[in-house]
Amino acid sequence: MNWRRLESRVEPVTELVIRLCGISAILFVFGIFFFVFREGAGFLFGGLDIVRFFTSTSWYPTSVSNKQYGALALIAGTGAVTVLAMVIAVPFGLGTAIFISEFCSPRVKETLKIVIELLAAIPSVVWGFIGLTVMNQLIIRLFDAPIGLTVLNAGIILALMSEPIIVSIGEDALKAVPDSYREAALALGATRWQVIYRVLLPAAKSGLLAAVLLGVGRAIGETMAVLMATGHAVQIPTSLLDSARTLTATIAAELGEAPVHSDHYQVLFIVGVLLFMITFVVNLAADLIVKGIQKKTS
């Protein structure tokens, strides 16, 4: 009797707490966006030439005589590094996911999963250090390049960093396809390849896409490793063996020493807003595509 009364009182409280938890995530996201935006808003609406920001490659934030804030080279750098990382990571990542979920024995599977999770546990500064030392020399030797801190270097490192995400989520998606699909396909005389290509991949499409896009998000957002491995040079890379600079690395390198509330400080927050919007668009696109696919298949 007493217990029941207590429960009836506790329940609404618990419900409220859970509701608050749910809302808090939204509040945090908007709070962060608001803060970042507010820090940069003064300069965004008063002083920054937005057209030049997107079209000029002249990034001279600390010049004494002629300060210029052209972020095109940084945007190009982020784009180049991310695209290369995905070109490498998506085939390898999805291939590994298929292998783990469809082909290998339970023991190999366990080992592989542990090793791949280990790959995800390597701190990004360690990746950066590998890029700065080992990969730099390797690229100089192999490609006879004058410098090894390049788009190629950062792309390979980012690919290795985002691969664990692609593999884990991709494998989850494949595992979620009911066994009856596989059995039905095999019963119709499909080969293993046909089962994967014609049945599993279409069935797990939305999950696999989510895996890839989360990998993209990882690659765009990574900071420390690309700061060290790209060479951090303000120029639009024209080949894989050119140095570049990304948006994230620019914020990391310069925010610490930019005087608070100076134009430079504010423009770095505007770069932050830009990054926020890029990742938002990627996530939104993923969401819409996944929903679209779900509608079509149902």
């Binding site: 990034w59 100089i140 004058p146 989520i169 989850d172």
Partner: protein
């Protein structure tokens, strides 16, 4: 690491547990940070010990650390806490009043002095505590021995046209492409500012497209592994894998090696003073520390960490006038 696509993308009821956990963690972290901040502001746990907080220049962090350790041995009742982060970061901390001293590898700007004065009620006092020579480094395989300021400006300057080693008269195996790889620092470090001013004055900028590395050590590290590279960093950062060039003020003039003697007699062209600025009028403990830093014992550490100690010709401790102008 069991990622699940739905949990991250869509707000499922089943995803709530995860969100709540994260939110809870975030709140806990915020609270912890806030508490830690309050404690730190009141000067640490042990009230008997005087704490001198200093922050600032990346170039000087090794030096400041060495001073702090030695000073703790001489004056156990005072604890000197050092953090790096860069001259700009240190000055920002001074303006916010969270540090007693800032190690600066450049002079404070007038508007920074003004802000710091407003916060502390008195202008920051400037102390010259040593010198640093910026050495120009190349890879060991590079046969070049000396370079002039004008040649450096040709390599690094905005309108410079030197981008091949053969333009400087050298070709060497290991750098078959002949391309000069310019290594620089992030554009708001004190080192970058000083190098730009020494080469080009304040009217021109460095050419974009250089590798702007994050830290004095990284510069030397990369040059040691890259035959085509050239770069600049404090002379204290020299390693066995790189070669320091002698630098001439004008083409044709004798080139000077970056050594302690050549910096002290002002013959080496790219050397700069290192400063400490105080938060307003320094307390007795801070003043004692600064006197010790400028004493023979403090200056011996300057030499040991690879920088250049003061000479008799250096200005005496500032009365605030030097800094306020």
């Amino acid at each position: 690491m069991n990622f699940s696509a739905e949990k991250i993308f869509v707000c499922h009821p089943s995803g709530f547990g995860r969100t709540c956990g994260l939110a809870g963690l975030a709140i806990a972290a915020l609270v912890a940070v806030a508490c830690a901040g309050r404690e730190g502001g009141e000067g640490g746990a042990a009230p008997a010990k005087t704490v001198i907080q200093n922050a600032g220049s990346d170039t000087m962090v090794n030096l400041a650390q060495a001073w702090a350790e030695e000073y703790a041995a001489v004056h156990p009742e005072v604890s000197v806490e050092v953090s790096g982060g860069g001259t700009g970061t240190g000055i920002a901390a001074l303006i916010n009043g969270t540090v007693d001293l800032v190690n600066a590898s450049r002079k404070m700007e007038p508007d920074e002095i003004e802000k710091a004065t407003r916060e502390a009620g008195a202008p920051p006092q400037e102390y010259v505590v040593g010198h640093d020579a910026l050495a120009v480094y190349v890879n060991l395989s590079n046969p070049l021995e000396e370079i002039s300021i004008a040649q450096l400006a040709g390599i690094y300057g905005q309108d410079g046209t030197t981008d091949k080693w053969s333009q400087l008269g050298v070709r060497f195996p290991g750098c078959d492409q002949d391309q000069i790889i310019r290594i620089s620092r992030q554009s708001n470090s004190g080192t970058y500012h000083y190098f730009r001013e020494a080469l080009l004055g304040t009217e021109r900028d460095l050419k974009l497209g250089s590798l702007d590395l994050h830290g004095s050590k990284d510069v030397v590290e990369v040059i040691g592994r890259t035959p085509c590279a050239i770069g600049y960093s404090g002379m204290g950062y020299a390693t066995a894998n790189v070669k320091t060039l002698r630098v001439a003020r004008q083409p044709g003039e004798p080139a000077i090696a970056p050594t302690v003697e050549n910096t002290q007699d002002n013959s080496y062209p790219i050397a700069r003073p290192l400063y400490i600025y105080t938060h307003g009028v320094p307390s007795a403990a801070v003043r004692a520390y600064l006197d010790w830093v400028r004493s023979e014992a403090g200056q011996r550490i300057v030499a040991e960490t690879g920088y250049v100690p003061l000479t008799g010709a250096d200005p005496k401790p500032g009365s605030g006038k030097g800094a306020a102008q």
